[in-house]
C-alpha cells in the first residue's frame, strides 16, 4: 500500500469533499479514512488515501489537487504518510 495524506484547509463552502473525492475516484485512488472539522469557520479535512492502484504519479496528483484547491478557494496539500509516521510513531 502506498499512502498519501491529503489535507484541505479553507473557507467552508458547498461541495469541497465532492470535488476532491470525484478526482480521487477518477484516478483509482482509494480513500481509507476521512476526518473533518470546522475550526472558527474554517473547513479542515484530512484524508488518508491509497494511491497504489493509480496510474498518476505523486507529482500529477499533487499538482491537480493544487488546481482544484485554487478553483474552490481552499488549500489542498498532499504529503506522503511517512513524515507523520516518523514523527508520531516509534
Amino acid at each position: 500500500m502506498n499512502k498519501i495524506i491529503i489535507t484541505v484547509v479553507g473557507k467552508d463552502t458547498v461541495g469541497i469533499i465532492a470535488r476532491v473525492c470525484t478526482f480521487l475516484a477518477e484516478n483509482s485512488i482509494n480513500i481509507l479514512d476521512i476526518s473533518q472539522t470546522i475550526v472558527s469557520g474554517y473547513f479542515n479535512m484530512m484524508m488518508i488515501v491509497d494511491v497504489s492502484k493509480s496510474e498518476a504519479s505523486f507529482q500529477e496528483v499533487s499538482d491537480t489537487l493544487d488546481k482544484i484547491g485554487e478553483d474552490i478557494g481552499v488549500v489542498i496539500k498532499c504529503q506522503r504518510e511517512e513524515i507523520f509516521d516518523s514523527m508520531h510513531r516509534i
Binding site: L32, S35, D85, H88
Partner: protein, 454 residues
C-alpha cells in the same frame, strides 16, 4: 492510523514554526582525483563532483515536495583540498585554480555552498597546508560559494600556534580582499579545534579522510518548534521543561532521519549521519536566543544564560539521539550572532558581549560564530581570540570554532548586512589589550594530560 491532530501538529510546525531540514550535504571523497598535473587534477575534480552530485538538487526538491517539508539547502563537502592539491600545487595560485573549479562545479550542479577548501594542521603544517592557508584570501574573494575551514587543534594533539598566528593574519587579509562587500569573505572561513569529519553545516563542512567515497549527511533544524513547545509550559519546573525539549527534539530529528534515508536511497549514496544541531536563521521565530528567553532569561547573555544553553543542548541531544540511527557532525545548539535575530537584539540591548559568548561556547556545539568585529582589530588579537576558543575545545574534548568577520572600515556599534542566511548585525567590541608576545612565541601548545588515555 495517523489522526487529524497529528497531521495538524506536523503541518503547523512546518507552516508556522519554521520547521525545515536545513541541509542535505553530500560528502564526496576527492582522493581518487589526485594527480601531479594541475590541469588533470582540476578536470578530475570537476568530473567526480559533477558525476556524483548532478541529481542532488532535484532529488532534494522532489523529497521536499512529496513530504511537504522544506529542504532549505543542498550542499557538498569534499576532502580537504590541502591533501588533494599537495602533489600538483606549487603556489597559492595553483590552489586558487582548484577553488575556481570547485566554484564552477558547485554552480553547475546548482548547490548554494561547497565546503572543503580546508587544511588539517592540528599538529603541524606541510608545505601544501601552508600554501592552501595562504591562498584563502584570494580563493574566497575570487569565488562565491566555496567555503574554507582549517583545523588548528585537537584534544589529542594540542594546538598548533603557528597556524593560529597565521590564521589571524589570513582572516584580516580575507577581510581586506572582500572589503567592498562588508568583508563577507570571512563568513566563509572557519577555524576549528576537534573538527568533525561528517559535519553537514557550512562554512565548516569537509569530507574527512575516514569517510566512505560518498555519503549523505543531513542537518535538521527547528528552533521555532522548540520555542513554541516551551511557550506551553511557561512557569513549570525544570523536569517538565527538559522533557518538553527532549520530546520536541525527537520529533524534529525523526523528520531529518526520514529525509536522510530517502535521499540516500534515491541517490544511491550511503546514509552517513543526522546532525542534531538547532540552527537558527535570521527569520523571525527561528532563533536559539528566543528559546533561551523562553527558558527564562530576559536576553541571551543575562546571568543564567550559560546554564540555560547547557540544558537546552543536552536535552536536544538526548531527544535527538533516540530518533536517529546515526548521529554525528556538530549536534548541539548553534549560537551565531548575525544569523539569529534574538542574538542581534541581545547585542543591541547591551546584554551580550564577546566574552559571554565565549563562556556559552563551553556548553554548546560550536563556538564564536558569525561575529562581526571592528575592521581595525589587530591580527594578533584575532589569533588570541582563536587560541582561547581552541583551548576550550581542546580541554573539554569538544568541537569549537571561530568565524569572526573584521569588517574593514567599520567600528563597534556600526551595523553590517551580509544578506540571506548569513544575516546582519551589529559590530561587537573586542578587548584591545595586547596579546602580541603570547601569539608570537611560535610552536605548539602540547596535548592536555587527559588525552593520554592508552
Amino acid at each position: 492510523m495517523i489522526n487529524i491532530n497529528e497531521v495538524s501538529e506536523t503541518n503547523e510546525m512546518i507552516e508556522k514554526e519554521n520547521l525545515d531540514v536545513r541541509t542535505i550535504t553530500m560528502g564526496i571523497s576527492l582522493l581518487d582525483c589526485i594527480s601531479s598535473d594541475l590541469d588533470t587534477l582540476n578536470r578530475n575534480i570537476y568530473e567526480k563532483i559533477y558525476g556524483s552530485a548532478k541529481d542532488l538538487v532535484q532529488t532534494g526538491e522532489d523529497i521536499a515536495k512529496e513530504f511537504g517539508i522544506p529542504i532549505v539547502n543542498k550542499r557538498i563537502s569534499v576532502t580537504p583540498i590541502a591533501l588533494i592539491g599537495a602533489a600538483a600545487c606549487k603556489s597559492t595560485e595553483d590552489f586558487v585554480s582548484i577553488a575556481k573549479t570547485l566554484d564552477k562545479v558547485a554552480k553547475d550542479v546548482g548547490i548554494n555552498f561547497l565546503g572543503g577548501y580546508s587544511a588539517l594542521v592540528s599538529k603541524g603544517m606541510t608545505d601544501a597546508d601552508r600554501l592552501l592557508i595562504e591562498s584563502i584570501p584570494q580563493a574566497l574573494s575570487q569565488t562565491d560559494v566555496v567555503c574554507s575551514s582549517v583545523n588548528v587543534g585537537s584534544t589529542k594533539t594540542g594546538i598548533n600556534m603557528d597556524a593560529v598566528r597565521l590564521l589571524g593574519d589570513v582572516i584580516v587579509r580575507t577581510a581586506e580582499a572582500t572589503k567592498d562587500n562588508d568583508s563577507a569573505g570571512c563568513t566563509k572561513l572557519v577555524v576549528f579545534c576537534n573538527a568533525p569529519d561528517d559535519n553537514p553545516f557550512m562554512a565548516g563542512a569537509f569530507h574527512g579522510v575516514t569517510e566512505a567515497d560518498r555519503i549523505i549527511n543531513v542537518g535538521v533544524s527547528g528552533p521555532g518548534v522548540v520555542k513554541t513547545a516551551l511557550e506551553k509550559v511557561r512557569g513549570e519546573n525544570f523536569e517538565i521543561l527538559c522533557e518538553t525539549i527532549k520530546k520536541t527534539a525527537f520529533k524534529v530529528t525523526r523528520v531529518g532521519q526520514l529525509v536522510a534515508k530517502e535521499a540516500s536511497e534515491r541517490l544511491g549514496v550511503p546514509f552517513g549521519i543526522v546532525d542534531l544541531s538547532l540552527a537558527p536563521t535570521p527569520a523571525i521565530g527561528d532563533s536559539v536566543a528566543d528559546i533561551l528567553h523562553e527558558i527564562g532569561v530576559e536576553h541571551a547573555g543575562a546571568p543564567g544564560t550559560t546554564a540555560a544553553l547547557a540544558l537546552l543542548n543536552d536535552q536536544v541531544k538526548k531527544g535527538g539521539a533516540m530518533a536517529s540511527s546515526y548521529v554525528g557532525g556538530l549536534s548541539g545548539a548553534f549560537i551565531p550572532v548575525s544569523e539569529d535575530q534574538g542574538m542581534i537584539n541581545a547585542v543591541n540591548a547591551g546584554a551580550l558581549s564577546l566574552e559571554k559568548l565565549e563562556a556559552m561556547t563551553c556548553v554548546c556545539s560550536v563556538g564564536l560564530d558569525m561575529i562581526a568585529i571592528p575592521g581595525d582589530t589587530k591580527s594578533t588579537t584575532i589569533s588570541g581570540i582563536i587560541a582561547d576558543e581552541m583551548a576550550i575545545g581542546m580541554i573539554n574534548q569538544k568541537t569549537t570554532a571561530v568565524r569572526l568577520i573584521p569588517v574593514i572600515g567599520k567600528k563597534a556599534g556600526d551595523t553590517v548586512d551580509f544578506g540571506g542566511l548569513l544575516g546582519f548585525g551589529p559590530i561587537m567590541s573586542v578587548n584591545t589589550f595586547s596579546c602580541d608576545e603570547f601569539v608570537n612565541r611560535g610552536g605548539r601548545i602540547p596535548a592536555p594530560i587527559h588525552s593520554f588515555k592508552n
